[in-house]
């Protein structure tokens, strides 16, 4: 299968506001929110981006959606670099990539009815010839996310719906314009536990039906395991490990992935746990170490880690890992 999305050495830097901090520190400083992220995603594939808050996973998503302009690197979508798109080209690109964000309560205009909110993307992208046709499309979209009977939802305002229903409306809106890629950033973390499974199942079914390519951003590895065939673990703006989800979670190679996987509480109290302990202080992304960004917290740190930044290289079983514990010589030929 062909690659739908190829991200190469993607970067996003934010200059720190000049103020007290830079006056004290002197030099110009930047935050490296995304610091050289590369991955490829094939058509119909699903990628999970995992990591702690501040690791750059949401910024990566916003760069792919082109809600932000990259500071460096390329984003090839269907063979075309979209990193520098502007104007009508950008509008056309945005029809092909849609998103579902974390907070459904803030994702819809509170003064628009559900119908009006859902007509909006059709108007913006000039889909459908008449109002009747557009309303029909909206009705079909609501039906697909199981908000039925659809007519009862048309005149409702966001405050009249529950969180789970709102997130279904947001999903319907994203799919209305027939996108090729759907990016979902923590799509259920604001929802109640008993509602989450329904929304996850819906997203899984819809993306399978429509052979949609998906990216899920979540701190929850269990969610990524459920939704994604490929998992990438991010740390301080870079991917430290990426590979088939089951392989990454069951045989984590990078010490950070090992710590992350072992820290997830298991709902089964009978499960024995062998946690990997690491320090709970995360270095800030404006004082990036020269070597491996994880070196200061790594329980297996070596001398080389503090000097040389490890590259993301193929290891085994389709997993790529950025760690000196897996030197190139011992890896699979590729």
């Amino acid at each position: 299968m062909s690659q739908l999305l190829e991200v190469t050495d993607l970067r996003k830097e934010y200059p720190l506001q000049s103020g007290m901090l830079s006056a004290v520190m002197g030099a110009r400083r930047v935050v490296h929110a995304v610091n050289g992220v590369s991955f490829a995603l094939e058509e119909g594939g699903s990628l999970g981006l995992a990591g702690e808050s501040g690791c750059g996973k949401t910024t990566t998503a916003k760069l792919i959606l082109r809600l932000l302009r990259p500071s460096g690197g390329s984003i090839r979508f269907a063979g075309r670099d979209v990193a520098g798109l502007e104007g009508l080209d950008l509008l056309a690109y945005r029809r092909q990539v849609q998103f579902v964000f974390q907070n459904p309560y803030e994702a819809l205009n509170p003064r628009f009815t559900i119908l009006r909110s859902l007509l909006e993307p059709l108007i913006i992208h000039d889909i459908g010839r008449s109002l009747t046709e557009r309303v029909e499309r909206v009705a079909m979209a609501l039906d697909r996310v199981h908000l039925t009977p659809v007519e009862t939802f048309f005149p409702k305002y966001p405050h009249q719906l529950s969180g789970g229903q709102l997130q279904r409306v947001v999903i319907a809106r994203a799919l209305l314009v027939d996108p090729l890629l759907l990016v979902a950033d923590e799509p259920v973390s604001m929802l109640d536990v008993s509602i989450r499974a329904g929304v996850l199942n819906l997203m899984r079914d819809l993306s399978r039906e429509r052979k949609l390519t998906t990216i899920y951003i979540s701190h929850d590895l269990a969610l990524i395991r459920y939704m994604c065939s490929v998992a990438a673990v991010m740390y301080l703006g870079t991917i430290c490990e990426i590979g088939p989800t089951a392989e990454v979670i069951e045989h984590p190679r990078h010490p950070y992935t090992q710590a992350l996987v072992s820290a997830v509480p298991d709902p089964d109290p009978a499960q024995p746990r062998r946690p990997v302990e690491i320090a709970d202080t995360v270095p800030t992304p404006f004082q990036l170490p020269v070597g491996c960004p994880f070196a200061d917290r790594c329980p297996q740190v070596m001398e080389v880690c503090r000097r040389v930044r490890p590259a993301l290289l193929p290891e085994a079983a389709g997993v790529h890992v950025a760690c000196h514990l897996y030197p190139a010589g011992t890896r699979e030929a590729h």
Partner: protein
């Protein structure tokens, strides 16, 4: 005698739309030295219940009935001054989003010392000395006492707040979502600290959370709350291994698991009832695949089911059979999709 006994507690909120019954007759006890996890989704009344225990409810809320006995003394009968003696000294509270409740313009050590001086009557020197010991206890270097909240990470602030709750050596600590805003690694470390403290200080702990994995990780006992009621209690091991209430059964299949393969999740269809007008029968009946005629008219009470466990379900005696049918039964409700209607008509519940 249990350390804390809650008996038939009811709490109401007065709103513009009438009274909302947030806690509807909760009976629950916490044994000495044990950790009880209170789980439920948002709006089920778990935070209201916790705040009612030491009467720090919102202004429009009132306790309308029941008793809360701590070491045999009914806290609800105590007046302001006498109740104050229980707050902090005997019952410590780690409120929700506690780490944001630290005052940004004071050093964290000073805030800790102030609490001990005002509430515990310690001298400044005593308080400072104890603050250092408390910091060490919760895994913070005592040098950090001099820092301001913005200089600490989320995990560290949470540790400060836990230290504050422990400052006057309470016997019971109530912790409301103590690790919810924290990243998974930090969450794990804070939970581990709490477990160690609970064991070394032989504290009783009431942990309130929506996350059943946190309860599995930290608690001895669990109480599952739904629509203002406790629907099931027992030891964590037993309740999670063999739930007796359909709601608990449903929750077990509604979470993705990190370790298991990707068997399809089964949601609990529908939404919790509006507690401004609670249903006559079982509050879970509209979402329950096992509801029978009786469930719609007759609200089940929490009854012993053997082995120290309790469940509020008319069909609790059939739990072993229902548990096996649960995944398919909840999945059938998902397939009908009846939940999507706001305040939906009772779906395929009545056989």
């Amino acid at each position: 005698m249990p350390l804390l006994e809650i008996e038939n507690l009811t709490v109401q909120y007065h709103t513009l739309h009438g009274a909302v019954q947030a806690v509807r007759g909760v009976t629950l006890s916490i044994e000495r030295g044990r950790a009880l996890g209170l789980v439920g989704e948002s709006g089920c009344g778990k935070t209201t219940l916790a705040r009612a225990l030491i009467n720090v409810l919102a202004r429009n809320a009132a306790i309308t009935g029941g008793a809360v006995r701590f070491d045999g003394v009914d806290l609800l009968q105590l007046s302001g001054g006498a109740l104050n003696d229980y707050r902090w000294r005997r019952i410590g509270l780690v409120p929700q989003a506690a780490m944001d409740s630290l005052d940004p313009v004071y050093r964290v050590g000073d805030q800790l010392v102030e609490t001990m001086r005002l509430r515990g009557g310690l001298t400044p020197a005593q308080a400072r000395e104890r603050a250092a010991r408390l910091f060490a206890l919760v895994g913070l270097e005592p040098t950090r006492l001099r820092l301001y909240p913005h200089e600490l990470s989320g995990g560290m602030k949470q540790r400060v707040v836990i230290a504050m709750a422990l400052a006057l050596q309470p016997k019971l600590v109530i912790a409301d979502e103590p690790v919810t805003a924290l990243d998974v690694i930090v969450q794990h470390q804070v939970l581990r600290t709490m477990r160690e403290l609970q064991e070394t200080l032989s504290l009783s702990l009431l942990l309130i959370t929506h996350d059943i994995s946190v309860v599995a990780d930290l608690c001895d006992d669990v109480a599952v709350m739904y629509a203002g009621r406790i629907v099931e209690t027992g030891s964590v091991r037993e309740v999670f291994a063999a739930p007796q209430h359909p709601y608990t059964m449903g929750l077990r299949n509604a979470f993705p698991s990190l370790r298991a393969s990707s068997a399809r999740l089964v949601p609990i269809e529908g939404y919790p009832p509006d507690l401004a007008s609670p249903p006559n029968g079982c509050a879970f009946a509209p979402r329950c695949p096992f509801a029978v005629q009786r469930c719609w008219g007759d609200d089940p009470v929490l009854m012993p089911t053997g082995g120290g466990r309790l469940a509020a379900c008319h069909r609790a005696m059939e739990a072993d059979v229902l548990r096996i049918q649960a995944p398919q039964a909840f999945a059938r409700l998902e397939a009908t999709g009846s939940q999507a209607v706001e305040g939906g008509a009772p779906g395929g519940g009545i056989p």
